[in-house]
């Protein structure tokens, strides 16, 4: 099969090459036009939107507004306030089980949350870390109520989270549990996808990890275009945007 795959590949590519050699003068002209407009026009489109973004006084506010517009439940707080907020949220959303990412910061914050909640005798929340392979955890992952992880970055213009899959933040953490809780540092908010790409050098890297943009809880409008929140992915997305504690 490998050899025939190679044969099919060569056949297709050579047909494409021959086909494309058929350029008429007008075509060559539009090709160079395409080149120049490619270099110019997206720049223009891009600079206008990033200009707009830089005028928006506060990326955080823009992010929160758009993320809320995308039906995510959003909170803003100081880093030290996260455990208390998280405790409140777990109670409010009646979350009895939680899966944690392997990020040390998430682990630490959740410990603090548990410590704080010690006085709250009615509170209980089972938890486990996503530290084994999916196959071993599958059953628990399909039963757990919520997941907690920290996002890599946020995009203000569209209200999106950027989540990179790593050994600490597995892909299905943001997918299987019905409630997805995400921490995001306000330092990591970019104006939009374009600025994120150029700042993170993602666009010039030759290889990258699986990356996700998440802009709200899963939704569908397949039935009569009626928007329904929560289809296959999480039913609810909770975003906690925090300002990092000043290092002493």
């Amino acid at each position: 099969m490998h050899e025939s795959n190679y044969k099919r590949r060569s056949a297709i590519l050579s047909r494409v090459k021959v086909a494309l050699s058929n350029l008429d003068p007008e075509q060559i002209q539009t090709q160079t036009q395409a080149q120049t407009s490619k270099n110019k026009l997206p720049e223009q489109a891009r600079s206008e939107s990033s200009l707009a973004a830089s005028f928006a006084k506060n990326l955080n506010q823009q992010f929160l507004q758009n993320m809320t517009g995308n039906s995510a439940l959003c909170f803003e707080c100081q880093e030290e306030e996260i455990p208390a907020l998280l405790h409140k949220l777990l109670v409010q959303e009646k979350i009895k089980s939680l899966v944690l990412s392997g990020q040390p910061q998430v682990e630490k914050i959740f410990q603090q949350t548990l410590n704080q909640a010690q006085e709250d005798t009615a509170f209980s929340c089972d938890f486990f870390r996503f530290e084994n392979n999916l196959e071993e955890l599958k059953e628990r992952l399909f039963e757990v109520a919520a997941s907690l992880e920290k996002a890599h970055s946020g995009l203000a213009e569209t209200g999106s989270l950027v989540i990179r899959s790593t050994k600490e933040t597995p892909r299905s953490l943001s997918l299987i549990p019905p409630i997805h809780i995400v921490l995001l540092s306000s330092k990591n908010i970019y104006a939009n996808f374009e600025t994120y790409l150029s700042a993170s050098k993602l666009s010039s890297r030759s290889s990258l990890e699986n990356t996700l943009l998440i802009s709200g809880p899963s939704k569908t409008a397949d039935i009569e275009l009626t928007l329904v929140q929560g289809i296959h992915g999480p039913l609810k997305l909770i975003v906690i945007l925090y300002n990092e504690a000043k290092k002493l």
């Binding site: 795959n5 086909a19 494309l20 290889s207 990356t211 289809i231 296959h232 992915g233």
Partner: protein, 458 residues
């Protein structure tokens, strides 16, 4: 076939519920698109121009980009397969599934798998294939075909879906929310136990070897994350050069398709599960399909058919599609883009008639985010179809092509000479009483007077 099309059209036009469903949904989609572009209306012409240039550039560099994509994907551990025909693509998929011992397959929404009729093929060969996009799931339950490339069940209202769920899933509910959540419950089990996940690809980035998937539901992510094997399908024009090309095209796609600034998920798949990773498929394969696209590329105008990013805006704004619905086309891709794509990938014999089913109103051209000159392409295909070269005498007579050609030759004979033209006008105006008689015996004019009065000369 033209006969099937005529029959389908008749059926659709005589179905008021169907037409009302379409009208309501398409009006809403067209309106959503308009609203989505409102904040950047001044930039829109520049963005369309830029998106067009990006896509055209990708087409011109296809051989390099496809090789680069393959190389990058290989480096990232994703296997690349090449298929010249739908049959080959199906066979490749089958053999990958067999090698991995996969029986139960969960599928994300993908138009290319409709094009190659993958589900039919796999089911005939003993596999269990489950569609997981809500719309496609409903289509599959009903044993029908998707009618729209973005909104597959646009032709159904929720009462029809509720009835279907009651029959097939023994679920009794009526609101869109209840029905949606019932599908969630049902499909979760399938995601859990599937042996393989199949998906399409929206953009494949050559520079980084990344497969981008656009969706709202999360089923695409399930299909490409949970099962141990992921097979992605793409037609060869889906490749783009650089990652920096993606944001513009993605934004144009979202706004044009569903009127969203951004979809819920944008999944950039680069690698199978890595050594230290906890999840993701162990094996990822990409099947790249040609299916006559390399032939389409040889004509500088027709080539532009392949600029398409499958947003569906052309159908949402098409008065023909609105009236007859997606199924009437009997094609994997319906609507204006289908009218130009299907005859070229599946043959003029089968789909040539679609090119005539347009009033050339150009509403599709007006909204196309990548500026495909759909009407110009339709005109070129029509011109190709008038050739009688490869037709037998019987076909010429039977198809009416010969009669049409003669009629236009006669027309050209009269209208290319002012003298003959004047004579013709004189006759027309001298004996208006003869006109009804003439109409009755001219088959072409009879088609007009079936539903309309003939305008009498004044």
């Amino acid at each position: 076939m033209e006969k099937t099309f005529t029959k389908n059209v008749k059926q659709a036009l005589n179905n008021p519920v169907l037409r009302a469903n379409y009208r309501k949904a398409l009006d809403a989609l067209a309106e959503k698109r308009k609203t989505a572009f409102a904040d950047i209306s001044l930039e829109l012409p520049a963005r369309r121009e830029a998106a067009y240039a990006l896509r055209l550039n990708s087409l011109h560099k296809l051989p390099e980009l496809l090789s680069q994509l393959e190389q990058k994907l290989n480096e990232n551990g994703i296997h690349v397969h090449w298929a010249q025909t739908p049959q080959e693509a199906n066979q490749i998929a089958e053999s990958i599934l067999r090698q991995n011992n996969a029986k139960k397959i969960i599928k994300g929404k993908s138009m290319i798998t409709e094009e190659i009729r993958l589900n039919d093929y796999l089911e005939e060969h003993g596999f269990n294939v489950i569609e997981s996009d809500l719309g496609e799931f409903i289509v599959q339950l009903a044993g029908e075909k998707p009618a729209h490339i973005v909104a597959p069940i646009i032709y159904k209202n929720k009462e029809q879906v509720a009835k279907l769920f009651a029959e097939k899933l023994n679920f009794h509910g009526s609101s869109a929310e209840e029905l949606t959540h019932a599908a969630r419950q049902f499909l979760r089990k399938e995601f859990y136990s599937a042996d393989a996940g199949l998906s399409g690809v929206n953009f494949a980035v050559a520079q980084t070897g990344t497969l981008c998937l656009v969706e709202n539901e999360g089923n695409g992510r399930f299909c490409t994350t949970i099962p141990p094997l992921h097979i992605a399908f793409m037609s060869l024009e889906k490749v783009v050069e650089k990652f920096s090309d993606v944001p513009l095209l993605y934004s144009m796609l979202c706004r044009s398709a569903s009127g969203q600034k951004i979809t819920v998920y944008f999944n950039m798949i680069s690698k199978p599960r890595q050594k230290d990773e906890k999840d993701g498929p162990q094996h990822v394969h990409l099947i790249i399909l040609d299916n006559n696209r390399s032939t389409i590329l040889s004509d500088p105008l027709l080539r532009k058919t392949l600029l398409c990013i499958r947003c569906g805006a052309c159908m949402n704004n098409c008065p023909v599609y609105t009236n007859i619905g997606g199924h009437a086309y009997d094609a994997a891709i319906p609507g204006p883009i289908g009218k130009i794509l299907m005859p070229q990938i599946a043959g003029m014999e089968k789909y040539g008639h679609l090119a005539t089913a347009s009033s050339l109103c150009a509403a599709c051209v007006e909204v196309c985010p990548v500026k495909i000159p759909i009407t110009d392409i339709l005109l070129k295909l029509r011109a190709q179809a008038t050739s009688l070269k490869n037709l037998s005498f019987k076909q010429r007579l039977y198809s009416g092509k010969l009669a049409e050609k003669i009629a236009f030759m006669l027309w050209a004979y009269i209208f290319s000479s002012p003298l003959r033209y004047k004579l013709f006008l004189k006759m027309l105006h001298a004996f208006p009483a003869l006109i009804p008689l003439k109409v009755r015996f001219t088959p072409m004019l009879r088609q007009w007077t079936k539903t309309r009065d003939f305008p009498m000369p004044r």
